[in-house]
Amino acid sequence: MNGIVTGGWNFVLAAYIVTGTVLVAYSIHTIRELRQKLQIREALTRVTKGTSS
C-alpha cells in the first residue's frame, strides 16, 4: 500500500465522456437557440421594412 490508486482507466474515460457530451450538447443547444432568435429577428425586420415602405 503506497496510497496511490492504480488502474481505474474506465472511470477516467467515463468522466471525460460525460463531461465532453454534456458540454458539446449544451454548446449546440446554445448556438442553435441564438441562431433561431436571430433568424426570427431578421424575418420580422424584413417584413416591418416591407410594410412601412
Binding site: 460525460v18 420580422l44 410594410t51
Partner: protein
C-alpha cells in the same frame, strides 16, 4: 483530476461572476446585467452538475461508493439545488422586472454556500482531499492541469457570451410591443 479540478475552479469563477452580475443589476438596474446573470446561472447549474457527476465517478474507485454525505459533497449538492431553483424561478416568473430582481436577490443568498463549499474540507472532517494549489502540485501535473483549466474557461466564457446575447434578444422581444398579426410571416409563425 485533470477534468474535475478545472471544472471546480471554473464553477467557482462562474458562480462569483453570477454574484457580481446580481449585485450590479440591483445597483444599476440594467437589463444587460440581467442577461449576463441569466447566462451565468445556467452555466453554473451545468458546471455544478458536472462536478457532482465527475466527483461520483472519482469516488467509486477511491472511496468504494458512488456517493457519501460528506461535507464537501453535501454542500455542493445544496449549491446545485439552490441554483436549479433560481433557474426554475426565472422560468416561472412572466414579469421581466420581477424575474430579474427576485433572481438577483436569490443569487446573492445562494452565493453564501460558495465559501462554505470551499472551506468545508477545512472546517469539518471530510473524505474529500484538501484544496489543491500550485504549491502543492508537481510541475509535471500542473502544466496539463492549467491547460485544461484554460480550455474550459475559454469555452465557458464563449458559452456565456452566446447565452447572454440570446437572453438580451428575448428581453428586447418582451419589452417591444407585439407586431401586428398581418406583419408576421407564416414561416416565423410555424
Amino acid at each position: 483530476m485533470y477534468i474535475h479540478v478545472p471544472t471546480a475552479w471554473t464553477a467557482m469563477l462562474v458562480l462569483s461572476w453570477a454574484f457580481l452580475c446580481a449585485v450590479m443589476f440591483l445597483f444599476r438596474a440594467s437589463w444587460r446585467w440581467d442577461s449576463r446573470l441569466e447566462a451565468a446561472l445556467e452555466v453554473s447549474v451545468l458546471l455544478c452538475f458536472l462536478l457532482c457527476v465527475q466527483g461520483s465517478i472519482w469516488a467509486k474507485p477511491t472511496w468504494g461508493v458512488w456517493w457519501d454525505w460528506d461535507p464537501r459533497l453535501t454542500t455542493t449538492a445544496v449549491l446545485l439545488m439552490a441554483f436549479v431553483g433560481i433557474v426554475a424561478l426565472r422560468h416561472f416568473l412572466a414579469d421581466a422586472a420581477q424575474r430579474a430582481t427576485w433572481s438577483a436577490v436569490a443569487t446573492i443568498i445562494a452565493y453564501v454556500d460558495v465559501p462554505i463549499v470551499y472551506f468545508s474540507v477545512k472546517w469539518w472532517n471530510s473524505l474529500h482531499q484538501q484544496p489543491s494549489s500550485a504549491s502543492t502540485i508537481s510541475r509535471d501535473f500542473l502544466i496539463p492541469l492549467m491547460l485544461n483549466f484554460a480550455g474550459m474557461l475559454f469555452l465557458v466564457i464563449g458559452l456565456m457570451t452566446i447565452r447572454g446575447r440570446t437572453a438580451l434578444l428575448r428581453l428586447e422581444d418582451e419589452m417591444l410591443p407585439p407586431p401586428l398579426p398581418a406583419a408576421i410571416p407564416t414561416e416565423v409563425m410555424a
